[in-house]
Symmetry: none
DNA sequence: AATGAATGAGCCTTCATTCAT
DNA sequence: AATGAATGAAGGCTCATTCAT
């Protein structure tokens, strides 16, 4: 029975961590499929396989799982974004990097989700408005505002961030609606749109 | 004293029209505050002050009110859009006209809504996803896709529409979050963003 | 405008009578199709084509229509029964006449009802327990009890009536479930059963 | 002190069994008093004193309780019937045994039911159409049809079954309406009626 | 801790009945 | 009288949450 515990990873702690994770995963799935608003705690519990009461040992409500999920999403996306930002030397490369990272993140999430279901199952309705996405957006927004604030040529960082987010969100949705996912093409379009608008890079 | 009755104007018809309107108004509000998904028929009923059963004399479900609301929104916005489109001779003027029309519509709707509530009431959370807005967006999307399709310089009208919608939606939201509503400024920004991107019209 | 009114059959009275009849007819149909318990006042009204409120000018409730229907049924069946009874000279002929009358009545009602619907329509569920039938049964029961009371060989007229009713009711149902309706055969069987039991008339 | 747990006898299982039983009992009562059609799930719930939701932890609908009740009734009556049938050597003894079993069952059920209510309570209206009775009747019908099919002297087992059921049902009801229950007398009458009809065994 | 049954608030909908027109 | 919209009580059912085991 001897066991060297470098971290609190006793049996108890293991199951606890596992359960917490299971709930988070279930919630991610359920929010993705049903949308945050439509999803119920029961849906999450059902997916989890745990008992109803167990849920409440970890989270007090749907909102709390959502928050945890947000934190998770932000925690996973923020470093990517930060790294890109460090590498980027100008607006253009930063925007490209951010958009690219976001679209890849989006496509990954979606693929993960698709991988888990039988191919022939009727395509269930997918809502993109998961708490995780919200968090990612917030991250991006902050980043853009900060970046734009340093750029003297434009007066309104908030509007700029809004426009970028808007483009990324809607184009991202469209990208997800097509097969196969053309992350590259969507990125090109979005970046070009953000930087040059409809006129395009040539300025023609 | 002969009288031609163009419309049924008996007392009954009056109350009927009033109730129908009250339900529609209540639904608009409730959808706006709670979001379409969260809203329940009960919420709408409560807001009208009518009896539970009365709702069902007018609409058979939440979906049906939503449809009515969509129709209403489309009916009010479509002519504006069409007129602008008829006047417009090039992309730029069309885009400006459409965005301007949309932002004005948005500001009007919002003002109307604000006018109806007591000042000191705690500001409720507002979702933009009302059926009305959806309808307006759909209208705009069709319009852009159609217009963009004729423009040979751009390959993907769907992406273009998505980007424009995205900008309009997010910038519109930001606009509504500021006091006073700067419709002109927001329009300028959005149009410039759509046409020239961050680089701006100067191409600098 | 002259009109000789032998009976109160003015315009007013005519419509009144018509409406009353329409309600009664609708109720008969609805009770027949849905069963008395399942039927709702709304069902009757709907079938009637009249306004909801109009119903209450004639009857105060479902029960009241049921009573009216019972009276009607009894009024139509009682004379038949009485005539048969007058003609009958012994138990056997009376029983035969009564059963025959009842089965014919049953088949008629049913045919009437069937005639009114399209042939290919999915056979709706039919409940036999209409208030009219109840009334007819009551009539028969009284008649049997009275008749049996005069027969010294059997002690318990109530039981006898019950047995006869039971046979008539169940065999009648079976008869209605077969195509074509074999009124004659069913009558023969029921009469034989009542008079001689399983052993049959031969006494073998 | 080892103990073999043949059945789960924890406190939880106990209450579960109790509740299941309570619901079944309540349903039996409610169906008996109001009739299956009139009875509502809410009525059953009210009678149990449980919370609304609890019902649905056990049964998904009124139909499902009805089925459970039917099974119960059949499970309790079928063995009796089968035993009698095994013992019986001819029609007469089988019929007598079946009728006797049914009337005894009926009287028992009724007594059980009466035992549970306060004496001075107003006698509620009783419908015989509980799902349990239906099941018992079905059982008997099958049995008679099968038995009658082997008897070459009679052409129509279905009619025979119908007639027997009819007699049993109606005479049974009459029996229950009298005090004290004369199971023996009712059985004698019913059997005589089934075998010999009104003419009686003497054939006079 | 985990479990899962119990709870009761709350949602959707239909219905009988009233009553202003 | 006839009309038909308004009313609110119920009914079926689901859900978040608690709590005894």
């Amino acid at each position: 029975m001897s066991q060297v515990a470098y971290l609190p990873v006793g049996k108890r702690e293991q199951t606890k961590a596992q359960n917490r994770l299971a709930i988070l995963d279930a919630a991610r799935e359920v929010f993705g499929e049903l949308g945050y608003d439509n999803a119920t705690v029961r849906d999450i519990i059902r997916r989890t396989g745990l008992a109803a009461g167990t849920f409440y040992n970890y989270y007090r409500s749907k909102e709390e799982v959502a928050t945890a999920l947000s934190d998770d999403g932000a925690r996973r996306f923020a470093p990517i974004l930060k790294a890109e930002r460090a590498k980027a030397t100008d607006w253009e490369s930063f925007v490209r990097a951010a958009i690219s990272a976001y679209f890849n993140f989006l496509a990954d999430e979606h693929k993960n989700w698709m991988a888990r279901r039988p191919v022939d199952e009727p395509h269930p309705h997918i809502h993109g408005e998961t708490p995780e996405m919200q968090a990612v957006f917030a991250e991006v927004r902050d980043c853009i505002v900060e970046q734009a604030a340093g750029d003297p040529s434009h007066a309104d960082p908030d509007y700029i961030a809004a426009a970028c987010i808007g483009i990324a969100r809607e184009v991202g949705d469209k990208m997800l609606a097509r097969r196969p996912f053309d992350v590259g093409g969507a990125t090109e379009f979005a970046v070009s749109m953000i930087l040059f608008g409809l006129r395009g890079p040539s300025g023609a």
